[in-house]
């Protein structure tokens, strides 16, 4: 009886490991294929039908995309928006989260309700678009940042985190004559570095991945961030006609070229991924605590 069970148990475990391995491989394979494809010639890609390892390596695609300044410019826009956006968002979010975390703040319950309500109901795309337009933000980089300054979700996570800091620390600082700003920047924030790091990374990923705001608010193609450009390049070559902004006179880019652009647009995320990974489980857990 006991023998039989262990054999069953072993088979069960083996099948489980096998399935999970297959799932992991399927998840990553497309990325690896694209990376491999970006390092070869178009001819090679078309003829050899390889999945992972090309027989002929080439940097042509990268040489080409870095010979034009379009990619550089788009990457520059994305990097700038991500850096400024993340700092700005973290500043505004921490300030508000700290205020709301203080139990002696009158009206915090009402403000929290108003924040949570925006997670359930929204004015929708068009009224938001009109507001941004009225503010004169069309074709301004600020349009990629201001309308998404605070994520209600991140705000609640941070507020909960601040609330778990022992109040005694703040009290003693107050007795020593610290102002509220002093307490936040000298005591609360340094104690909250794990949460700050996690949320900064979340914001940074969101800003890097910005697509909707860019197509809504930026008409000038010279201002496009990398996500919009990437889409144009890939769609252009697929002969699809959804976008009226396409310039039909340019020949469709080669498959390898598209792969190289995908790799370039993905690289920054891959660079921060190890840091993200260190923190995100914690961040996601914090979020599951009700606000």
């Amino acid at each position: 009886m006991i023998e039989d069970r262990t054999i069953n148990g072993r088979i069960f475990a083996l099948v489980n490991y096998l399935l999970l391995t297959i799932i992991a491989i399927i998840t990553v394979l497309p990325f690896l294929h694209v990376v491999a494809g970006s390092f070869t010639t178009s001819a090679e890609l078309a003829v050899k039908r390889f999945i992972l390892i090309p027989t002929e390596w080439s940097l042509d695609a990268y040489r080409f995309i870095f010979s034009t300044n379009t990619i550089f410019r788009a990457m520059g826009v994305s990097v700038g928006v991500t850096l400024i956006g993340t700092i700005f968002s973290m500043l505004i979010t921490s300030l508000m989260a700290y205020g709301l975390a203080r139990r002696d703040l009158d009206g915090r319950k009402y403000i929290m309700f108003l924040v949570v309500f925006t997670m359930l109901f929204s004015g929708g795309l068009i009224p938001s678009f009109l507001v941004v337009k009225e503010l004169g933000l069309i074709d301004k980089y600020a349009a990629l940042i201001l309308p998404s300054t605070i994520s209600a979700f991140n705000l609640i996570i941070l507020k909960n985190f601040f609330q778990n800091i022992p109040e005694g620390l703040e009290e003693s600082a107050k007795i020593d004559g610290s102002s509220d700003f002093g307490i936040l920047f000298r005591i609360v924030l340094p104690l909250s570095m794990p949460a700050i790091a996690t949320l900064s990374l979340f914001y940074a990923v969101t800003y890097w991945n910005t697509y909707l705001s860019a197509i809504l608010y930026l008409n000038d193609s010279a201002k496009w961030p990398i996500q919009v450009l990437l889409r144009q390049i890939v769609v252009l070559a697929s002969g699809l006609d959804t976008s009226p902004d396409l310039d039909a006179s340019v020949p469709p880019p080669e498959q390898t070229l598209k792969m190289a652009v995908i790799v370039v647009a993905t690289l920054p995320i891959l660079c921060v991924y190890p840091f993200l990974q260190k923190h995100f489980a914690k961040g996601a857990m914090l979020g599951s605590i009700k606000g």
């Binding site: 890609l45 039908r49 703040l105 009158d106 795309l125 006609d241 990974q277 995100f280």
Partner: protein, 317 residues
């Protein structure tokens, strides 16, 4: 300093309102701190909510929210009489149903499988690999799919030819839009979706498993009788949230897949609002559609929450 000292002495206030006023004055810097955030919510969240009034107007940008002519429910009537809209609504609902049926169970199953893994290194490696797609934008996910699925040189079609099949036009056909959509959803989100279930599973008392093992329960039986009941409430909470998102299928994702060849099945409420509103300038009509969508979402999440509470669960709020 002196102010603070005075407040620390608990003098019974003459009128509670004056005490509150003093407290508010003392916290003036705290209010200054939350002001930019509050301003953000007012400008970018609440003004657009009041902007929904344009659904009841014939909005002209020149006259603004206040100056445009009121037309009552005209746009809503048009909405429900337009044959186009019924098609779009059903496309939206079908994608939602596919999300529930094909995507929702996947993270649960993955989490249960992962929970059986005893080798920590394997577990961590697996998590690192399957969480990754979540952090990539839809543009990247869709672009990778494009270069792999395209008819001219995409690896999937090349392999189909190699094995003697016909090429399939995955990207430009009605039949393949939904499968491609849902596979991309699973690819991007299923791994990340396991996190919350794994946390719930981790908080289960190990003694339960020990007792079950003593009674001779196999691993599958342990999953069925211990793990699943233990994460039931997490599953229900996530289900409620999912239902609240019924019409929130991800504008970016669908918009990126949308083209003239699959518009019949791929046009959903969000993409239609974008096209009709931003592209064609039918601000009022598209706002009415968006309003309808937000309202349905709100009602559904409240309804699902109510049901969950009836069933003895905690609900979301």
């Amino acid at each position: 300093m002196r102010e603070a000292a005075i407040e620390n002495i608990k003098v019974p206030a003459k009128r509670p309102s004056s005490e509150r006023k003093r407290r508010i004055w003392r916290n003036k810097w705290l209010y200054a701190m939350i002001a930019p955030g509050v301003l953000y919510f007012i400008i970018f969240k609440y003004i657009p909510m009041f902007g929904l009034v344009i659904a009841f107007q014939d909005f002209k940008p020149f006259f603004g929210f206040t100056g445009s002519e009121w037309v009552g429910f005209k746009h809503f009537v048009r909405l429900f009489t337009e044959p186009d809209f019924l098609n779009i609504l059903s496309n939206t609902l079908i994608l939602f149903a596919m999300n529930l049926i094909f995507y929702f169970p996947v993270p649960i199953i993955l989490a249960l499988m992962l929970n059986e893994v005893r080798i920590n290194f394997f577990k961590r490696l697996f998590q690192s690999l399957v969480y990754l797609p979540h952090f990539l934008s839809w543009v990247i996910i869709v672009s990778i799919s494009f270069v792999m699925l395209t008819m001219d040189g995409g690896i999937i079609n090349e392999l189909l030819v190699f094995f003697g099949f016909e090429k399939v036009n995955f990207l430009l056909s009605n039949e393949w839009f939904r499968p491609v959509y849902i596979i991309q959803v699973i690819w991007r989100e299923a791994g990340w979706g396991t996190i919350i279930y794994l946390a719930a599973i981790a908080s289960i008392d190990p003694q339960l498993y020990e007792a079950a093992r003593m009674d001779g329960a196999s691993r599958l039986r342990q999953v069925w009788h211990i793990t699943l009941p233990a994460i039931r409430s997490v599953i229900i909470v996530l289900l409620i949230l999912k239902i609240g998102d019924v019409l929130e299928l991800g504008f970016e994702h669908v918009y990126l897949l949308l083209n003239a060849m699959n518009r019949d099945v791929a046009e959903i409420i969000d993409t239609y609002v974008y096209t009709a509103g931003v592209r064609q300038g039918q601000f009022s009509y598209s706002t009415a559609i968006g309003f309808f969508k937000s309202l349905v979402g709100l009602i559904l999440v409240m309804f699902a929450n109510y049901l969950a509470k009836k069933m003895g669960e905690e609900g979301v709020y």
